[in-house]
Assembly symmetry: C2
Homo-oligomer: 521 residues x 2
């Protein structure tokens, strides 16, 4: 099975995956959780209670733009568009908390309709939250005031393909598997496989600077984009007349990562590549994380890079591999996953061997491939059991990575231990560059009585540690509301003013995603 | 000889290279020019006449910041900082035209002094033109009102080198050869060799999105930058905590290409690579430009890319190769230059052979290497002879390149022929990407009585053709004043407003490079 064979999965917030097919935890996992003090909570999920919505005047102008069929105000649709997929989001959802629920969900059918919607919302002072896959894990869908959601799912077309230039124009609402299926019909792939692949879509990839599991071979999403179209309350911006240009700042890189604060990305021109005839995934064992880090840095700096390159630390290796025999029977050690789109590259293997790696063959690679999108699905059953599981991530330059990893781990362990819930903290590197790499952390512990506040404290400690150790507050999750203050501190007050000035120019009434990315002042 | 062996050449405007060692045209070239109707003009260069400069109050606050030794108001220094190196710049210089001459040249010695200077100039409403190498060919040094020049040449340090992360922190005033020499001491190279290499410096590379002759291997300068420090009238912005980040828009890409309109880049953190032990340059012959284009596109899309990859069209091949035997004795055909930093890659050669290329060996490659920075030096003697020679460039997606090339060539030929001076128009591709490439044009013809107006007409026709054919107004020369209107049309009024808003936030008094990149409204 390849990525494009996957059917599009309908994601229901609060329940990653199809609620008709709940994921169950393995019995062994339940036992392991008990060691962390995890106990099943006394109460289950609470149903949301509706509240008054839009005025007739507001419904009127929305209907005028997109037609009555494409304005939904029922509770089920609105509740289904409430928040994203962070653990606090899931917890608030379980509590029936409707504070971040949109007053309507509107489905425009074209760029022109998006443009008209934003202009109308601006003149009516009605806040707008753009919605593509809805998979934000950083509070990217929680505006600071009442709002409507603009869901771009009807913008689901492959508009054009240029086989000579190897570019494709995809609309914002095309989900990952659909994009791959559309491109596969012509023999191409986008090569973008983030963990949110089954749910996230093109517009969100662009707006939040997504990075996929094949980033070593295909690059990040922001590196694939050669052009994009942005609808703002004041009109449309179109960028990208050439792969690269010296005509001023790169405006694509101003829109990428803007998270809906300037407008809605309605389509993107992306670089595509021929679909590989074969794929290989292997496991490699290193003595410890430090030696594995040296090996993957060697590949990132001197090549040849594989398509997928990830390295788990000792803790993640131990948790993910119930069967230590996978690591060649040796005790300890860490696991790296190395994947190739296209022919196997023996030179990559030579570098890994020369830097102390032990080839474990395709077994662990296939295990990883099959489970690569599964982790988020486990969160709901884990929450059911009373466990708190959440991830956070950063990136930095190679020389700072060991210290960055240690500082974040220590901060999370200390915060949660101080709260009486000592955690397991796992880490891996999954995106490499010549000058540095990402670090991705998973924390698992027992829930306290107020798990949202519990995680908020741990997250604040981690964010402070990231800042102190010189990392960025996010490598691929984005800013949303969760990282907004840390982001402002990271770029500094003058850069925040510059971005606020851009926002003011494009969104003078401040209706676009108020409070997300930037404070709504 | 390698790049770092070159001593730093002092560039005198109006005379590319050292005036003590003027370059002479080969006799054969003079004969060829006569066929174009070129006649030596009756009058030679005119000396500039000075005019009143700064007030005592203005001199006072400048001196207070940098010290009296670092404020120059003599005519020679100011005239030496007047304009850049476009042909119209050289022509106006020859005419003794002082309209774009700074009232003073100030040499700050640190980031803090640059910062203090800009704050003081802002509060005194004194316009500032940043100056690093002074090699702009797009009017990047010609502000719209009277100004002082801030020359960053004293910021000439390699501040730090991080060998694990392979990054170096270089100050803005480090020129190309000095950067290579400083890095070579530690065994590294930046790999950035634009034609302006001998004169341009780090700050200008960043501010104007330079691209060097080894871009196929090392990328553009904007792809090498992982961090930068920008002094603005309102304070400092520091960017780049990681190779890549999802924390908002990429602010590095907002500063890169801002051409001094937001502030002065005082230092840059760049990716470095080990200095290659060997270099190889080869010539390859293709039947025609179209088949050569297919070959280099194949390499850009499927690899393996060499370090240098350039393809001349039939006209440029004929002009540059006085000896047709270099092309293997065959008649016609076009020349490609293929260079490798490090070992020769036979797989690259295989792709070129498979796509119809004929290997001409190292002879033409070495000829190109030796002459790679020479072309600009020929302009002065050409102007002496009465010839008009100028270049312009663009970039676009592969599928549009043939049409883009034809449209620009036709526009330049028509405009100059209509003016009674039929030109030769030569073209090459020197920068390739997966999705497209650059096109670089050289036009040669006889001067009319008003060669500045003559070229302005031809350039306007070329710019209109670029816009109509979907190219960008500049791949690596930048915007300056020459491309400002075309740039505004290219990005559209709303994007211009967004950039003006950024400028207003960082430079509320509009003292930074007024009229360059953006109109000063």
């Amino acid at each position: 099975m390849t990525e494009s064979d996957l059917s599009v999965v309908h994601l229901t917030p609060g329940r990653w995956g199809d609620p008709a097919h709940p994921v169950e935890l393995p019995a062994a996992a339940v036992g392991a959780l008990q060691h962390l003090g995890v106990r099943r909570p006394a109460t289950g999920p609470v149903d949301p209670v509706d509240r008054p919505g839009l005025t007739d005047e507001q419904l009127g102008f929305l209907t005028e733009v997109v037609g009555a069929d494409h304005v939904k105000t029922d509770l089920e649709t609105r509740w289904g568009h409430t928040r994203g997929y962070s653990t606090p989001d899931l917890l608030r959802h379980r509590a029936g908390d409707t504070t971040d629920m949109p007053d309507a969900v509107v489905y425009p059918g074209s760029h022109a309709e998006v443009q008209a919607l934003l202009a109308a919302c601006s003149s009516h002072h009605l806040a707008v939250v753009p919605y593509s896959g809805g998979t934000s894990v950083v509070g990217g869908l929680a505006a600071e005031r009442r709002f409507i959601t603009v869901d771009v799912q009807r913008l689901d077309q492959l508009v054009a393909i240029d086989e000579v230039s190897r570019t494709a124009t995809l609309q914002a609402g095309v989900r990952g598997p659909a994009a791959e299926a559309l491109l596969a019909e012509r023999g191409y792939t986008l090569g973008h496989f983030p963990q949110s692949y089954e749910g996230a879509s093109i517009g969100g990839y662009a707006a939040a600077r997504s990075s996929g599991q094949s980033s070593a071979g295909y690059g990040r999403f922001d590196q694939m984009v050669v052009g994009l179209t942005l609808a703002t309350p004041r009109g449309t911006i179109e960028t990208g007349r050439a792969p690269m240009s010296a005509a001023g700042p790169d405006l694509r890189q101003l829109v990428l990562g803007s998270e809906g604060a300037f407008g809605i990305i309605t389509s993107v021109v992306v670089r595509i590549r021929p679909r590989p005839a074969e794929r290989h995934f292997e496991g490699w064992r290193f003595e410890d994380f430090s030696s594995g880090l040296t090996a993957i840095r060697r590949l990132a700096q001197n090549g040849p890079l594989p398509t997928v390159l990830r390295l788990s630390d000792e803790a993640e290796t131990a948790v993910n591999l119930a069967d230590p025999d996978v690591l060649g029977g040796g005790s300890g050690g860490v696991l790296a996953i190395v994947g190739f789109d296209g022919p196997y590259n023996a030179k990559t293997a030579d570098v890994l061997t020369a830097t102390g790696g032990q080839n474990l063959g395709e077994g662990p690679g296939e295990l990883w491939r099959v489970g690569r999108y599964r982790a988020p699905y486990l969160r709901d059953p884990l929450l059911d059991e009373g466990a708190l599981v959440e991830t956070l991530e950063t990136a930095g330059f190679w020389s700072k990575l060991p210290q960055l990893k240690a500082a974040v781990t220590e901060a999370v362990v200390k915060s949660l231990t101080d709260q009486g819930t000592p955690p397991l903290v796992l880490c891996h590197v999954s995106h490499v560059y010549e000058t540095g790499a990402s670090l991705y952390f998973t924390a698992i512990c027992a829930q306290t009585d107020d798990p949202v506040a519990q995680w908020r404290m741990a997250k604040a400690a981690a964010s402070a540690a990231i800042a102190a150790a010189g990392g960025t507050i996010s490598h691929h999750h984005g800013v949303g509301t969760d990282h907004r203050d840390a982001y402002a501190a990271e770029i500094g007050p003058l850069a925040v003013e510059a971005l606020q000035a851009v926002k003011k120019a494009l969104d003078p009434d401040g209706v676009m995603n108020p409070g997300i990315l930037l404070t709504s002042s």
